[in-house]
């Protein structure tokens, strides 16, 4: 049953579409009532609202996202029951949706669920072409039987990454190898200089949402705000996950204050050549102006430009990569497509192993206006068997002529 939220129960900021609560942790035995989910519209427009229970998945950055396969959606409805799934919210209106925990998935002691609230403004986009907007809010529900969280697993990696504002970010990667929800607790990160002196010490984990879902892998970031001079460092991270404690270490080098080596690419030159009935040969020189070595890969697109200016992609290809040192350059080259007489554009996207990407474009005019020598050359290249046969015939003919002349001279 759908119920209007009690007056004054939850007040939301003006001009917003939202929901409350954001997250709930239920330690109980189903069936159980979770209390209402309040959906609010304080904008001046009406909203069409769709509400559904979903299982949660988790991305590497820790963000929760709904599992939207048909089978998962069916299963989610067996775990969480909602009093309403669709309704309209006029400007300034709130609605309360009753949420009930019906059961746990088979053979599970916990479930990571959410109520997905989707709000779409009534009416169409005004003013022609554009991008409509839809809001989705996940009201998280972590359900478990009485007892502590039983997730198992631990740290699998530690690495340093360049953050914003000259910060170093240490990413501690945890993998939950169990079928249950787990929480990262009592995390510690210690950074030491090459001389072994502790230069930074930080705590991490232990928040209510420091969770790793069953089977998920999550990177937990720890920002090192202290200004560290150039040099070599070692870092150690440790965590308690479930009943286990694990640790990982890594080393990293700073090329400046809080500055990790980075890959920065600049296009040196791009050339494309080719003739009709041949592939376009593309050659790109890339300069590495960063402070780290990089492998450069290229994705090349061949676009035909018709007489009326219409463009259409005729071929795409990834070219073999090449390595480059800091301050050096790499040449990436290869063939793409097959040209017909006419104008072409070649687009190249160069990607360095550090994530830096550059694009370059050039044009090529394919012609079939060949010289006689070119035509012979092309024939010999494209038809080697016929060429060998032809040469053999010429040799035999020459031998016959020579034999006849010899016989004539002997008769005389």
């Amino acid at each position: 049953m759908l119920a209007a939220a009690p007056a004054g129960a939850v007040s939301f900021p003006p001009n917003t579409f939202g929901a409350a609560p954001t997250a709930r942790f239920l330690n109980a035995r189903p069936p159980a009532t979770l209390g209402p989910l309040v959906v609010s519209n304080t904008t001046r427009n009406g909203y069409v609202v769709r509400v559904q229970p979903v299982f949660l998945d988790q991305r590497l950055d820790g963000a929760f996202e709904p599992r939207l396969t048909a089978a998962a959606e069916r299963s989610a409805k067996r775990v969480l029951g909602l009093s309403a799934t669709r309704f309209a919210l006029a400007a300034g209106q709130q609605q309360a949706v009753q949420v009930r925990w019906l059961r746990l998935p088979k053979a599970s002691r916990s479930a990571a669920m959410a109520v997905l609230v989707e709000g779409r403004q009534s009416g169409r986009l005004q003013g022609g072409s554009g991008v409509g907007a839809r809001a989705v809010i996940l009201s998280l529900n972590f359900l478990q039987l009485p007892g502590s969280l039983r997730g198992r697993g631990g740290l699998v990696a530690l690495r340093a990454e360049q953050g914003d504002k000259r910060q170093i970010v240490l990413l501690s990667r945890i993998r939950n190898t169990s079928r249950e929800l787990g929480r990262a607790r009592l995390g510690r990160v210690v950074v030491r200089s090459a001389a072994g002196r502790v230069v930074s010490r930080r705590r991490w984990g232990g928040q209510k949402l420091s969770l790793v879902l069953a089977g998920a892998t999550v990177d937990f970031p720890v920002k090192i705000t202290k200004r560290l001079p150039a040099g070599r460092y070692s870092a150690r991270t440790s965590i308690r996950f479930g009943s286990q404690r694990s640790l990982r270490t890594t080393t990293f080098t700073l090329v400046g204050p809080n500055e990790l080596p980075t890959v920065r690419l600049r296009i040196g030159s791009i050339d494309a050549t080719g003739q009709a009935e041949e592939p376009a040969h593309v050659r790109v020189r890339v300069n590495n102006i960063g402070t780290a070595a990089a492998r450069v890969n290229a994705a090349v697109t061949l676009v035909r430009i018709d007489a009326d200016g219409t463009e259409r992609t005729v071929a795409k290809r990834r070219l073999p990569g090449a390595g480059s040192r800091p301050g050096g350059s790499a040449v990436v080259e290869g063939d793409v497509g097959k040209l017909a007489p006419g104008r072409y554009r070649v687009d190249a996207v160069l990607a360095g192993s550090g994530g830096d990407t550059q694009t370059a474009t050039t044009r090529v005019l394919a012609s079939n206006d060949f010289s006689t020598a070119d035509r012979f050359g092309r024939f010999f290249t494209e038809h080697p068997t016929r060429t060998v046969g032809l040469v053999a015939l010429l040799v035999i003919a020459a031998l016959l002529v020579a034999l006849l002349r010899t016989r004539r001279s002997l008769r005389r």
């Binding site: 900021p13 939202g18 609560p21 954001t22 709930r24 950055d61 072409s129 409509g132 907007a133």
Partner: protein, 164 residues
């Protein structure tokens, strides 16, 4: 009896008004002072605005563009994501569609294709009373030869609590 532990955030502010403001007279002292307690409910709002693209001239070397905002208020740390589950990132008009995907970027970031899969816009953001995330869109037009019409797609912005 079911024990329900609702996680409330003390860091949240009065903008999300109290679910239960309980005034109680301090009868023991007779001083007339009042003990006022309030429980702040956790709440999140995500309010994106539709964006009209300007410069929609098929074949043009300059992309069509437009900028909008996604306003977020949250009593928890949050992560904001974007996806297009209706048109896979392609602007459509009836059965006609662009062959190049619509692109988006946050603030001064770099443009990326709008795709079906959910992509992080802003991860592990702090508790906020009002944050306007500026989202710019561009539609590449070079080589795009489509008939006249109002081409649209829908960007879905998803907000959920996260660590920070």
């Amino acid at each position: 009896m079911t024990f329900v532990r609702t996680i409330a955030t003390a860091a949240a502010t009065a903008a999300f008004a109290a679910a239960a403001i309980v005034p109680a007279a301090d009868a023991a002292t007779g001083s007339g002072g009042q003990l006022v307690t309030g429980t702040v409910l956790s709440a999140i709002t995500v309010t994106p605005t539709p964006v009209v693209l300007t410069g929609m001239s098929p074949g043009s070397a300059t992309p069509a563009s437009g900028t909008g905002t996604v306003a977020v208020t949250s009593t928890d740390c949050y992560t904001l994501s974007v996806s297009d589950t209706t048109n896979e990132g392609f602007l459509k008009f009836g059965s006609t569609a662009f062959t190049a995907r619509l692109q988006w970027k946050l603030g001064a970031g770099t443009f990326a294709d709008l795709v079906t899969a959910s992509t992080t816009v802003a991860a592990n953001q702090p508790v906020t009373l009002a944050t306007n995330h500026s989202i710019s869109y561009q539609q590449p037009l070079a080589g795009q030869n489509v008939p006249a019409g109002a081409y649209t797609t829908t960007a879905t912005f998803t907000g959920a609590s996260s660590t920070c």
